[in-house]
Amino acid sequence: MQVPAPFEYERATSVDHAIGLLDRLGESARLVAGGHSLLPMMKLRLTDLEYLIDINELHGELGYIRVEADEVRIGAMTRHRELLESTELAEIFPVFAEAEKVIADPLVRNRGTLGGSLCQADPSEDLSAVCGALGAVCVIRGTDGERLVPMTEFHVGPYETAVGHGEMLVEVRFPVRPGGSSAFEKVERRAGDWAVAAVAAAVWLDDGVLTDARLGLTAVGANTVAVEGIAEALRGQAPSEDLYARAGEIAAAACAPTTDSRGSAEYKRHLVKELTRRTLRRAVAGTGRA
C-alpha cells in the first residue's frame, strides 16, 4: 500500500468556511474535491502539503447545472458523472457528454469534479479543452468577493492556475449562442488512459455560414485550451473539408507536443490535424440537429 506523508485534515462545511480555512492555513493547504489527482500525488509523495481541506460537503452548494436562456452555469463541485448524465447539457453542448464518456473510468467520474479538473491544470486533462472551446468564464471567490477569469487566462502554466491565495473556483459559466454545436474526439492507448491527444471543437452557424468557431486541445503542450486564429480563419466561411483541414493545420502549428511513452510529437501533431477535422465535421453536422 502506498501511503502519504503526514498531513492535517479539515472538512469545510461551506464555501465561506473553505475560503476562511485557505486564508488562515496559507500556502501549505490544498483543497481536495474528488481527490483522484491529488491523492495519488500524495501517495507518491509528490506534494508537500500540510493541510488537506475536504470540500466534498460543498456538493450541495456547488453541485449544479443551471441552464438559462443565454448562459449555462455549472458549479465547481459538479461531478463528472452529473456532467455525463445531464441531457439538458448534452443538448446545448454535446461536447460535454462526449468528453465525459472517455474521461478515466466510472470510479473517477463518480467522484471527480469540474472544478477539480480545471484547478489541477494538468495539460492532459480533457475538460479544460472543453471549457476553452466553449468560451467559458471561471468564477473565483476569495475573502474579498468574486472575480471572473476567462478560461483562456485560467491556466497560467502546467499545474498552475489563476486561483490565488485564499481563493477557490466556485463556478464556470458558458455563454449560449444560437446556431451552435460542439464535439470531442480523443485518442488514448487504452480506455481510462490520459489522452495521447484530444480536440474539443465548438462552432456557430448562421444560414450555412460559420459565424464563430473555437478549438481546445488536450495533451499537446501548454496554453492550448483555445487555439488562436481559428475563429479568424473560419468565420464567414461555408463549412467544407478543405476548411476543416486548414483549421487542422492551424491547430497543429499552434501546439507544442512532446515525445513520450504516449507517442511521438510528430504523431500527436498528426492527431491534432485529424481530430480537428473530425470534431469540426461532427460539430457542424450537429448544428442541424439543434
Binding site: 500500500m1 502506498q2 501511503v3 506523508a5 503526514p6 495519488p40 507518491l44 509523495r45 485518442v187 492507448r189 487504452r190 480506455a191 481510462g192 488512459d193 490520459w194 495521447v196 515525445t259 513520450d260 511513452s261 504516449r262 507517442g263 511521438s264 510528430e266 504523431y267 500527436k268 498528426h270 492527431l271 485529424e274 481530430l275 473530425r278
Partner: protein
C-alpha cells in the same frame, strides 16, 4: 466448441474430470481469502525499504541517525550492517549473486539500499525520508546493445576480475548444417524483432511476514511465493538456519505469473528484521516497488532468419539474440537452461536445420527475465518463429494459414525430435489449425478483407500456431540450484471416505483446490467436494518445486493421479478381503469394486476406507489406514499446442487498433476441468493483447524506469479485448498418467504473435512487413509512415 451451461452443472458435479465451479471461489467472492497482507500477529512490526533513486552510483555514505530518532522506529538496517552478518549478498536462482541491500554501489533504480522497521507501516515509510544517502553518480548502461561496447561502465565490479558486462553466451542447434540449408534456399528472410521488457503485474504485490521464535530457534515465514519448498531450502542455505526449523507458508496468492518465483531482497530483509528485533515483521511492497524492482519478463533483441523454397517449404531457422538480464542474473530457469526453453524456437514446423546464438548482458535495470507466464522463454521463441513465418508469407505472397499448414509436423512423426534436440511427445496439428479456421470463418474473413482494402479500410487477420514445452522436468536434465524438478503428493482417505490430498505445488489463482480434487476423484471415485486440497505450507505438504512454467498439472497433477492409483491398489486388496474374492476377480467402476460377473457383490471406496481404519481383519500383509505418498519424476515435458486467429481493424486516420475477434483453439491433452481451462485461456489472451498493444517497461537515458505506476504501465481492460471464441482439440500426452498437458501459459505464449501478425497484415497496403510491440497508435502510425522501428 461445446456449449455448456455452468449453472446446470452446479447441482451435478462430475465424479472426476468435467466442468464444475471452483471449490475455492466462495471464499474469494465473499472476501474471505487470506493473503499475506491479511496476516496479523501480536506485536508485529512493519518494514519499509529505501530504494535507489538512480540507476548507477557509488554509495559514499548512508546516514541513518535521523531515521533512528523517529519515535516509532525500532531499527534501521543498511547494507553495511548486513555485510557484518554476511547477509549483504544472496545467491540468485541463476547462480549469480544479488545484493540484499547495496553496500558498494547501486546498480538499478529501485534497488534496495536500507530498511526501516517501525511500529506501523506509515511510520516506516515516513522514516525512509529521514535516511540521507550520498551517491557518487556513475554512467549507467541502459541500452543492451551498447553494454559490451569498449569503455562501457562495468556494472558488476563486485565479481572478481569482472571487466565487462557479459553474463553468458549460449547456443543450440547445428550452425554448419543451418548455414548449408540457408545456402541452398530460394528465399531467405531476415527480420529484427524486439520482445520488449514487460512486467507480470500480479494484482497482489510481493511481501512477507517473518516470525522468528528465538526460544525454539524456529522461523515461520508467510510469503508470496510460487515455490514454498524451494524457497525454504534456499533460506536454509543462505541464512544458515536449519531447514527443519523453517516453515514457509504461502497462503492465498493474488496472482503470480512468475513474478513470485524469485527470492527478493525484501523477503530476506523481513527475516533479518525479525531476527534482529525479535518480533514478527511484515513487509509488503507497494505497486511502484513491484513494477520497478521485481522480476520483469522478456527483453530479448532478436535477429531472426528463415530460409525456404519458392514453393513455401521451410528449410531452416536461425537467430542471434541479445538478452538484457538487468543488473543481476536472477532469472528463474533450470540450471542447464540459461536461455530457458528458448531452444524450441523451431516452433511447430518440420524443418531441416536450426541454430541459435545468444549473448546475455548486464544493464542498469531491475533483474529478472523469466516471468509473465512465459514457460521459461517460450513466449520469446514462439513470437520469433511466428513472426518469421509471417515475414516469409509476406515475401512469398503466400497465405499465412496455408504456409503454416504446409510445414506443420505430421502426426506420424511424433515423438518428434526437433533440430535443437527437443522431443515433442505428441501432437496432431492440422486439425487444430483447421478448427480455428472453421470457427473464424477464415475464407470469409479474407474475402471481407479484400473488399475493405479496395475501399481503403484497414483490416488484418493474424495467425499463430504454437507448441509449448511445459512441465519441468525430468530430474536428469532439470534442476534449480541443484534441486530436482520432481513433485511429491500425499493422499489420505479418512475413515468416513473423505480425503485430503497434499500437494507440493501452490496455487496463485489457477484453481488447484478444484483441479487436483478432480484428478484424485477421477482415480478413486470420491466426489471432488469430499477431497480437501492442502498446499502452500512446507510443514504440511511433501517436497516439490512449485508452480510456474505451467508445471502443476504435468508434474504435480501426475503425482496426484499416481498417488490416487496407489491408494486404489491398496483399496483393491482390502476389497478382495471384504468380498472374499481374488484381487484379479475384482472390477473397478469409479467409486467401487465388484466381483466380475456378479455386480451385486461390491463395496464402495467409502466402505473400504472404513474397513481400512476399522476393526476386523485385513488381508495378510496389509497395514491399516488408506493413504500413500509418491514423488513423481516426469519422463519428459508435455507439449501442448494451439492455433490462434486474431482479427483487427485499424483506424487509418488515428492508427488505433481495435481487436475485433480472437479465436483460440487449444490442445492441452486430457481436459480436467474445461471451465478452468477456459478461464486460464481468457486471462492469457488478455495478457497477450496487452503485451502486443500497450505494455512496456521503458527507461530514459539515465536509466530511470518510466513504468512505475499503472498510469504509465498499461494493462488491458475489458474494453480492449473482444469476447473470446475458444475451441479445443484433444491429443493426450502419451507419458502423462492421465494424458494431460499444461495450459496455464499457452494463451500468453500464443496470442502476442497472432495480434501483431494481424496488425502487420492490416498494414500490408503500406508495405509493412514487421513492427515492434507494443503497437500503440503512435507506433502503428510510424509503421504506416515507413518506420518499422519506432521513432522513440
Amino acid at each position: 466448441m461445446t456449449a455448456v451451461n455452468d449453472h446446470e452443472t452446479v447441482d451435478k458435479k462430475p465424479l472426476g474430470h468435467g466442468r464444475m465451479l471452483r471449490k475455492e471461489d466462495p471464499r474469494f467472492v465473499r472476501g474471505r481469502g487470506r493473503y499475506v497482507d491479511d496476516v496479523q500477529l501480536r506485536g508485529m512490526l512493519h518494514l519499509a525499504i529505501l530504494r535507489s533513486p538512480v540507476a548507477h552510483a557509488r554509495i559514499v555514505s548512508v546516514d541513518t541517525s535521523a531515521a533512528e530518532a523517529h519515535p516509532k522506529v525500532k531499527a534501521v538496517v543498511t547494507g553495511e550492517a548486513l555485510a557484518e552478518k554476511g547477509l549483504a549478498w544472496m545467491p540468485t536462482l541463476s547462480n549469480d549473486v544479488q545484493a540484499v541491500l547495496a553496500t558498494d554501489k547501486v546498480r538499478f533504480q529501485g534497488q534496495e539500499v536500507a530498511f526501516v522497521v517501525a511500529e506501523d507501516h506509515y511510520s516506516a515509510r515516513d522514516a525512509l525520508e529521514l535516511i540521507d544517502v550520498e551517491y557518487d553518480l556513475l554512467d549507467p548502461v541502459v541500452n543492451a546493445r551498447s553494454a559490451l561496447a569498449e569503455g562501457s561502465p562495468v556494472i558488476r565490479d563486485d565479481l572478481e576480475g569482472k571487466a565487462d558486462n557479459h553474463v553468458f553466451d549460449w547456443e543450440t542447434g547445428d550452425e554448419a548444417a543451418t548455414e548449408a540449408v540457408f545456402a541452398k534456399a530460394d528465399v531467405v528472410v531476415t527480420e529484427d524483432i524486439v520482445y520488449p521488457r514487460v512486467h507480470p503485474s500480479p494484482m497482489e504485490t510481493c511481501g512477507a511476514v517473518a516470525d522468528y521464535d528465538s526460544v525454539e530457534g524456529r522461523l515461520t515465514l508467510w510469503s508470496t511465493t510460487q515455490a514454498p519448498h524451494a524457497h525454504r531450502t534456499l533460506y536454509a542455505m543462505v541464512a544458515g538456519l536449519p531447514e527443519h526449523k523453517i516453515r514457509v507458508i504461502s497462503p492465498d496468492i493474488g496472482g503470480g505469473f512468475g513474478n513470485k518465483v524469485p527470492i527478493y531482497p525484501g523477503y530476506v530483509c523481513a527475516i533479518v528484521a525479525s531476527l534482529v528485533v525479535g518480533k514478527p515483521v511484515k513487509w509488503m511492497e507497494d505497486r511502484s516497488e513491484n513494477l520497478i524492482s521485481t522480476g520483469f519478463a522478456r527483453d530479448y533483441i532478436m535477429r531472426g532468419e528463415i530460409a525456404a523454397t519458392h514453393d513455401g517449404r521451410i528449410l531452416g531457422i536461425r537467430t542471434n539474440v541479445l538478452a538484457d538480464h538487468g543488473a543481476f542474473n536472477a532469472q528463474a530457469a533450470p540450471t542447464k537452461y540459461p536461455a530457458g526453453f528458448f531452444g524450441v524456437f523451431t516452433g511447430s514446423y518440420d524443418i531441416e536445420a536450426a541454430h541459435a546464438k545468444m549473448t546475455a548482458v548486464y544493464t542498469n535495470k531491475a533483474p529478472g527475465g523469466v516471468a509473465y507466464a512465459c514457460s521459461f522463454r517460450i513466449t520469446e521463441a514462439v513470437y520469433l518463429v511466428e513472426r518469421l513465418v509471417d515475414c516469409l508469407a509476406y515475401e512469398l505472397e503466400a497465405d499465412p494459414a496455408e504456409l503454416r499448414s504446409q510445414n506443420l509436423i505430421q502426426p506420424d512423426q511424433f515423438p518428434y525430435t526437433t533440430k535443437t534436440g527437443w522431443v515433442y511427445d505428441s501432437g496432431d496439428y492440422e486439425p487444430t489449425l483447421r478448427e480455428a479456421m472453421r470457427i473464424a470463418g477464415y475464407d470469409e474473413l479474407r474475402a471481407e478483407q479484400a473488399e475493405k482494402r479496395a475501399r481503403g479500410e484497414l483490416m488484418g487477420i493474424g495467425l499463430s500456431f504454437f507448441t509449448e514445452a511445459v512441465g519441468a522436468g525430468p530430474r536428469k536434465n532439470m534442476d534449480i540450484l541443484g534441486l530436482g524438478m520432481a513433485d511429491g503428493c500425499e493422499l489420505r482417505v479418512h475413515p468416513t471416505g473423505k480425503a485430503v490430498v497434499r500437494l507440493s505445488v501452490q496455487s496463485q489463482g489457477q484453481g488447484h483446490e478444484t483441479t487436483f480434487a478432480q484428478i484424485v476423484a477421477e482415480e478413486i471415485g470420491i466426489p471432488p467436494d469430499d477431497i480437501d486440497v492442502v498446499h502452500g505450507d512446507t510443514d504440511n505438504t511433501p517436497f516439490g518445486l512449485g508452480t510456474y512454467g505451467s508445471r502443476s498439472t504435468p508434474v504435480s497433477g501426475a503425482a496426484a493421479a499416481m498417488v490416487a492409483r496407489k491408494v486404489r491398489d491398496k483399496a483393491r486388496i482390502i476389497a478382495s478381503g471384504m468380498l472374499e474374492a481374488s484381487v484379479t476377480d475384482l472390477e473397478w467402476t469409479k467409486g467401487s469394486f465388484a466381483v466380475k460377473g456378479d455386480p451385486e457383490r461390491s463395496v464402495t471406496i467409502q466402505e473400504i476406507a472404513l474397513r481400512a481404519h476399522g476393526a476386523g481383519d485385513l488381508p495378510d500383509g496389509i497395514e491399516g489406514g488408506l493413504e500413500a505418498q509418491v514423488c513423481y519424476n516426469p519422463e519428459n515435458l508435455t507439449y501442448p499446442h494451439g492455433a490462434y486467429i486474431c482479427v483487427v481493424d485499424i483506424d487509418p486516420g488515428t492508427a488505433q487498433v481495435k481487436v475485433r475477434r480472437f479465436i483460440a483453439v487449444d490442445d492441452c491433452g486430457t481436459r480436467i476441468n474445461p471451465m478452468i481451462i477456459e478461464g486460464q485461456v481468457h486471462g492469457g489472451l488478455t495478457d497477450g493483447v496487452g503485451m502486443a498493444l500497450m505494455e512496456m517497461i521503458s527507461f530514459d537515458e539515465d536509466g530511470n524506469c518510466l513504468g512505475g505506476s499503472f498510469m504509465d504501465y498499461l494493462l488491458p481492460t475489458a474494453l480492449e479485448v473482444p469476447g473470446w471464441e475458444t475451441g479445443y482439440t484433444v491429443t493426450p500426452s502419451p507419458h502423462h498418467p492421465i494424458g494431460a498437458k499444461g495450459v496455464g501459459e499457452s494463451a500468453t505464449v500464443g496470442s502476442p504473435p497472432a495480434v501483431v501478425n494481424a496488425v502487420v497484415d492490416a498494414l500490408k497496403p503500406f508495405g509493412v512487413r514487421h513492427a515492434d510491440m507494443p503497437l500503440t497508435p503512435s507506433r502503428v502510425w510510424d509503421a504506416m509512415n515507413g518506420r518499422a522501428k519506432p521513432s522513440f
